[in-house]
C-alpha cells in the first residue's frame, strides 16, 4: 500500500511524457503568442486570426509573393483587366468547399459581398478603403469585379480576400470558417484549436494530418515548450530567446518602424533639426542590442522586394558631431531648439519598443535637444496617429510600426506622405503629384514613381526617422523541416511544413 502513491506519481509522469511525444508522426502542435480573438475569415488580416485560418482553412484567388512583388494564381487560374474599372478572373475547376459546396463564380461573388456587407465588421475590408465593389458571375467559372474607381492592383487585393463557402451565414460573424483549404476546423475552445487534414483537397495533400494550436503570451515559455518537446513550433519569440541556431530562425517580418516627425511644428519644421534627429542615433549599436544582429536598417517604410522600394536610398549614418553642429546652426538662426519635444510611444508595441525609445531619447538629449517620452495605451496613442491630430500637442515624434505585406507601396506612400494622407505630417505639392500619378499607373512606371517619392521623402523633405525593417524569430522543433518567410507573421501554411526523416 505504501508504494502505491509513488507508483501513481511515476505513472503520471510517464503518461505525461507519452502524451507529449504521442502526437503521431504527422500530427503537430503549434504555440501562438495570443489566443485568436475569433475565427471569422473576413477579419483574417488580423495576425492572430490569419495565422490559424489563412491558406489552411480558407484560401484566396491570388497569392501575393512579397519577396518578389509578384502575384501568382491560386483559386483563380488567370485574370485580365477588361477596362480601367473592371477585372475578370477565371476560376480553377474541380475545387470544393469543406462542407461539400462547389467552388464557383457564385461562391466568389458571395464571398466578396459578404466581406463588403455593412452588417459585418470585416477588418479585411480596410485594404479597399471606401471603394464599392460589384462582383458578378459571368458563368460558372468566371467572375467579373467592377469597382467605382479604377483599381490597377485588383489581383493584389484579391490576395487578401478569403473565399468562404456560400453556406456560411451572410449577415453574421462566425467562429466556424468553411473554405476550400486543405484543413478543416475540428475543435476550438479556450485552450486550443484543432485543424485536421481533409481528404478531398483539390491540390497536393500536405504531410501534416492534424495541427493543434495553443497559446502562451510569454516568449520565454513558448521557447521552453519547443525545447522540452511539448510543442513543435512557435512563431514570434523575442530576440533574446532565440539562442539556439539549430532550432531558431530569423525572418524579415515585413514590419518597418519609424519615428514620424511633426514637421509643421517648430523646431521640427526646420530641416536641419530633422536631419540631426536621424544622425544622432547609434543605429548599429541600438539595432544589435535591441532587435538582434539580423535586423535590417531601414531607409524607407517598405521592405526590399515591395514594388516601389528604392534600393538607391542610403540610410542616415551615425554622426553625433554633425548632428550637434546642425542643432547649433539652427539655434544660431533663431530656431527654438530648446522647445520640449515629446516622443509618443505605444506600450508593448513590439519587443523592446520602449527600450528603443529610451535609447533614442537619451541620444537626442546628447545632441542638445529637449526630449521627453510619453508611452500610451493603444486607444490613446491612435489619437496621434490619424488626422486631425490633437490640438496643442506641441512638437511630437510619433512611434509607428507599419506592415506592408501586400507587395505594393501603394498601401504605404499615399497614407503617409501626401498632403491629404491620414498619417501624413507633411504637405508638398510636387510630391503629391508624383504619388497621385503613381497610384493610377501600373508596372514599371508605378515602381519608378514610388521610388522617386521615397527618395524625395528621405533626401529632400526628411519626413521621418526610419528605423528598422524588423526581424521575427521562430523556434522550430527538431522533427520539422520548415523555415519562416516574410508572411509568417500573418499566416503559417501547414501545407509547407514537412517532416525530417
Amino acid at each position: 500500500m505504501r508504494i502505491k502513491p509513488v507508483c501513481l506519481a511515476g505513472g503520471m509522469v510517464l503518461a505525461l511524457a507519452a502524451s507529449l511525444s504521442a502526437a503521431g508522426a504527422e500530427e503537430i502542435t503549434i504555440v501562438l503568442p495570443e489566443q485568436p480573438a475569433n475565427l471569422e475569415p473576413c477579419r483574417s488580416i488580423r495576425a492572430d486570426i490569419g495565422r490559424v485560418i489563412n491558406m489552411n482553412i480558407t484560401e484566396t484567388l491570388t497569392i501575393i509573393e512579397p519577396e518578389t512583388a509578384q502575384v501568382t494564381p491560386h483559386l483563380a487560374e488567370s485574370w485580365e483587366q477588361v477596362d480601367d474599372k473592371t477585372w475578370r478572373f477565371k476560376l480553377r475547376e474541380g475545387v470544393s468547399f469543406q462542407d461539400g459546396a462547389p467552388f464557383n463564380a457564385e461562391a466568389v461573388v458571395k464571398s466578396i459581398n459578404r466581406l463588403m456587407n455593412p452588417k459585418l465588421t470585416c477588418d479585411s475590408r480596410s485594404k479597399f478603403g471606401d471603394v464599392t465593389l460589384t462582383p458578378k458571375a459571368v458563368d460558372e467559372g468566371t467572375v467579373e469585379i467592377v469597382s467605382d474607381i479604377p483599381i490597377p492592383i485588383m489581383p493584389t487585393l484579391m490576395g487578401t480576400v478569403q473565399i468562404v463557402s456560400p453556406n456560411m451565414p451572410f449577415d453574421q460573424e462566425v467562429n466556424k470558417p468553411v473554405g476550400t483549404g486543405p484543413y478543416e476546423l475540428e475543435a476550438a475552445d479556450n485552450e486550443h484549436i484543432v485543424l485536421v487534414r481533409r481528404d478531398d483537397y483539390w491540390g497536393e495533400a500536405p504531410e501534416v494530418t492534424k495541427a493543434t494550436y495553443r497559446w502562451r503570451s510569454e516568449s520565454a515559455i513558448r521557447a521552453a515548450m519547443v525545447e522540452s518537446g511539448e510543442t513543435d513550433l512557435t512563431p514570434a519569440i523575442a530576440v533574446q530567446d532565440a539562442t539556439n541556431p539549430e532550432t531558431d530562425f530569423a525572418y524579415l517580418n515585413s514590419e518597418t518602424t519609424r519615428m514620424r516627425i511633426d514637421a509643421q511644428i517648430a523646431p521640427l519644421d526646420d530641416i536641419r533639426v530633422r536631419e540631426a534627429l536621424n544622425l544622432a542615433i547609434d543605429w548599429d549599436g541600438m539595432g544589435e542590442a535591441l532587435f538582434g544582429t539580423d535586423v535590417l536598417r531601414a531607409s524607407q517604410m517598405v521592405v526590399p522586394g515591395v514594388l516601389g522600394h528604392n534600393p538607391d536610398i542610403k540610410p542616415w549614418p551615425y554622426d553625433p558631431e554633425r548632428a550637434k553642429a546642425l542643432i547649433e546652426e539652427a539655434r544660431a538662426d533663431g530656431v527654438p531648439v530648446d522647445t520640449e519635444i515629446t516622443i509618443i510611444g505605444r506600450n508593448g508595441f513590439f519587443p523592446n519598443a520602449s527600450e528603443s525609445l529610451e535609447a533614442m531619447q537619451a541620444l537626442w538629449q546628447e545632441i542638445g535637444l529637449n526630449v521627453t517620452i510619453r508611452e500610451m495605451e493603444a486607444a490613446d496613442w491612435v489619437r496621434y496617429l490619424d488626422k486631425p491630430f490633437p490640438e496643442g500637442r506641441g512638437p511630437t515624434l510619433f512611434q509607428q510600426q507599419h506592415d506592408n505585406n501586400t507587395g505594393d507601396a501603394g498601401f504605404t506612400v499615399p497614407v503617409m506622405y501626401t498632403s491629404e494622407g491620414q498619417y501624413s505630417t507633411i504637405a508638398d505639392k510636387d510630391l503629391d503629384q508624383v504619388i497621385t500619378k503613381a497610384m493610377s499607373s501600373t508596372g514599371e512606371e508605378r515602381e519608378k514613381l514610388f521610388q522617386e517619392a521615397f527618395r524625395v521623402v528621405h533626401d529632400e523633405i526628411i519626413a521621418d526617422v526610419p528605423m528598422y525593417h524588423m526581424i521575427g524569430y521562430v523556434r522550430v522543433g527538431p522533427r520539422l523541416d520548415w523555415t519562416p518567410d516574410l508572411k509568417t507573421n500573418s499566416e503559417i501554411r501547414l501545407a509547407e511544413i514537412k517532416f525530417k526523416q
Partner: protein
C-alpha cells in the same frame, strides 16, 4: 513615531518613552537593527542618490548591454551588471529608490489612512452609514483595477498624483475591512465595555483603546503592500499613467527584466531583491514595533537587554 499615542495608560506609567529609549531598545535586537539600517540606506539613496550619480543611469552604453554582474571590467558601477541598454544596474537601483519610495509610500499611506478611518467609522457606527460604507467597499473590490486606471487616464490625464490615486483606491478595501473587523471585535472586549461604563468619550475610546489594537495589523498589511504597490505601479506606468521613462522605479526595472529572465537574470533580480528586502525590513520593524507597543509583550525586548547586561 514615538509621538503616536499608541500605548495604553498602563504602559505610559511604567516607562518614560522617548526616541532615544526606543532606539536603544531597537539596538538590542540584531535583526531589527539590520532592517533599520537597510531602510536608512534606502532613504539616503532616495534623498541623495540622484545627486551622487550622474548620467550613468540614462546614457545607453551598447557595448555593456546585458553585462553579467560581478565583473569589474567596466568599473565598479557595473558590479551588479548592466541592463538591456548597457546602463549600470547599481546606479539605477540607487537613483530608482526615490521614485519607488515616493510613490509606494504615498499610495500605502493614503490607502491605510483612508481605509483605516472609514473602517473605524463602519465598525463603530451601527446601522445605515456602516452598511453604506461596506457596500461601497464591495463595489471598489469588484471594480477591475485596470479599468479604473484607464478611466483615470482618459478623464483626469496622466500624472503621478493620479497614479497614486489609482493605487490607493484599489488597496483601500483591505485596510477598511480589516479595521472594521478588528473594531467589531475590540468593541465588545471587556476593557472597552468597562471604559464605556466609566463614561469614556467616543474619541477617547477610539484613540486610546481601539486604535492601538487595530494599527499593528494595518502596519503588517501595509508593509507587505509595499511590494504589491511597487509592482502594480510599474504596470500602470506602462499604460501611460504616472512615471514615464526615462524616469523609472524598481518596479519598472523588474518589468523590463521580465523578457530576459531566461538569459540575463540580473536585470530583474536586483530590483526584485531590493523590493523584497525593503518589504522584509519594513515588516521586521513593524513586528518589532508591535512587540514594543504592546505592554503585554514588551518584556521580550526588555528581557533581551537584561540578558546582555
Amino acid at each position: 513615531m514615538s509621538t503616536l499615542s499608541l500605548q495604553t495608560p498602563d504602559a505610559e506609567k511604567r516607562t518614560a518613552s522617548g526616541p532615544a529609549r526606543i532606539f536603544r531598545l531597537l539596538l538590542r535586537d540584531p535583526l531589527a537593527t539590520l532592517a533599520f539600517a537597510f531602510l536608512v540606506v534606502v532613504v539616503v539613496c532616495a534623498v541623495a542618490g540622484p545627486f551622487l550619480i550622474g548620467d550613468l543611469i540614462e546614457k545607453p552604453n551598447f557595448r555593456a548591454r546585458n553585462m553579467p554582474p560581478f565583473s569589474l571590467e567596466q568599473g565598479f558601477a557595473y558590479i551588479l551588471g548592466a541592463d538591456t541598454l548597457g546602463r549600470s544596474l547599481l546606479a539605477r537601483l540607487v537613483v530608482g529608490a526615490r521614485n519607488t519610495l515616493g510613490i509606494a509610500t504615498a499610495a500605502v499611506l493614503c490607502s491605510l489612512v483612508i481605509g483605516g478611518t472609514l473602517g473605524l467609522i463602519a465598525g463603530y457606527s451601527r446601522g445605515a452609514l456602516g452598511n453604506l460604507i461596506m457596500r461601497a467597499t464591495d463595489i471598489v473590490m469588484s471594480f477591475p483595477s485596470l479599468l479604473l486606471a484607464l478611466v483615470v487616464l482618459f478623464s483626469l490625464g496622466p500624472s503621478v498624483p493620479n497614479l497614486v490615486l489609482v493605487l490607493a483606491i484599489t488597496r483601500i478595501p483591505i485596510y477598511l475591512r480589516t479595521t472594521r473587523a478588528e473594531v467589531l471585535e475590540v468593541r465588545e472586549r471587556m476593557f472597552v465595555n468597562a471604559a464605556v461604563a466609566l463614561g469614556a468619550s467616543h474619541s477617547r475610546l477610539i484613540f486610546r483603546h481601539i486604535a492601538p489594537m487595530v494599527i499593528p495589523t494595518l502596519l503588517t498589511i501595509g508593509a507587505i503592500d509595499f511590494a504589491t504597490v511597487v509592482l502594480a505601479e510599474s504596470s500602470l506606468s506602462f499604460l501611460g499613467l504616472g512615471i514615464q521613462s526615462p524616469q523609472f522605479t524598481w518596479g519598472s526595472m523588474v518589468a523590463t527584466g521580465r523578457g530576459y529572465l531566461a538569459n540575463a537574470w540580473w536585470v530583474a533580480f536586483w530590483p526584485g531583491l531590493m523590493i523584497l528586502l525593503t518589504t522584509l525590513s519594513l515588516n521586521i520593524l513593524s513586528n518589532w514595533w508591535r512587540t514594543y507597543s504592546d505592554p503585554q509583550q514588551r518584556w521580550r525586548l526588555e528581557l533581551a537587554r537584561r540578558h546582555r547586561k
